[in-house]
Amino acid sequence: MMGLDIAFWVLAVVSVGAALAVVLMRDIFRAALFLMLCFLTVAGIYITLSADFLAGAQVLIYVGAIGVLIIFAIMLTRESRRGSPSGRLRLPALFIGLLFLVTMVFVVVSTDWHVIAELPTEPTTTAIAQALFSGEDGFVLAFEIAAALLLAAIIGAIVLVREK
């Protein structure tokens, strides 16, 4: 569909541009803000993929929580002069990055994907809920473990950062 295509292209360009700004910009704070822009556009991309629940989750978690967290960290570790310089390995890294990109594109293009072109019709929330919580084919165990993981992460972060 036309609308979907246009939306995709716009969002794609913006997200790639924002990501480039994150890694190339000297000022960290601006870089963090561009990161949050990148996350927002990715949420938009989810919507073009009919993943409504995930789009919401993306905004909540990434933009809301992780982005703010990163800004806090930047504030707390401000090195006045330095900012965000490039390291010694930038040329090899550039080369590797490009190589990687070329490889992936080659793989994607040359693979014969079996796709179903029709849009999915139902809202995904129910489907995800059913997939997560239904008894036999579900991901209940993974869900519970994820909860434990979060608990551990919270405790770990607190332990690391508290004053002695």
Binding site: A32, Q58, I70, L101, W113, A117, L149, I158
Partner: protein
């Protein structure tokens, strides 16, 4: 031309490569962490694309879990960076070379 699965996958690859460059080439530890988040997001996009084009919902369930882990990892990672900053007064990745020969 109509947007298909390949477009989303190539977008995912581009974002991943950008994130990779950031991880390997930047000196500020926080920027490295931000680049890692970009990489994880790129993977998420790929997952959701596969889920939509094969009508299997497990892809999106997987994305939820990846988000959970990404959040936890970002929290702990930044806590680490702050702790390091407290003792060494720097977050320059090139200065962390205690394992050097």
């Amino acid at each position: 031309m109509s947007v298909g699965l390949e477009h989303f996958l190539i977008l995912s690859a581009v974002l991943f490569a950008i994130g990779l460059y950031g991880v390997l080439a930047k000196r500020n530890a926080v920027v490295i962490l931000m680049s890692i988040e970009i990489m994880l997001t790129a993977v998420n996009i790929a997952m959701v694309a596969f889920s939509r084009y094969s009508h299997i919902i497990s892809g999106q369930v997987f994305v939820i879990f990846i988000m959970v882990v990404a959040a936890a990892e970002a929290a702990v990672g930044l806590a680490l960076i702050i702790a390091i900053y407290r003792s060494r007064k720097t977050v320059d990745a090139e200065k962390f070379d205690l394992m050097k020969w």
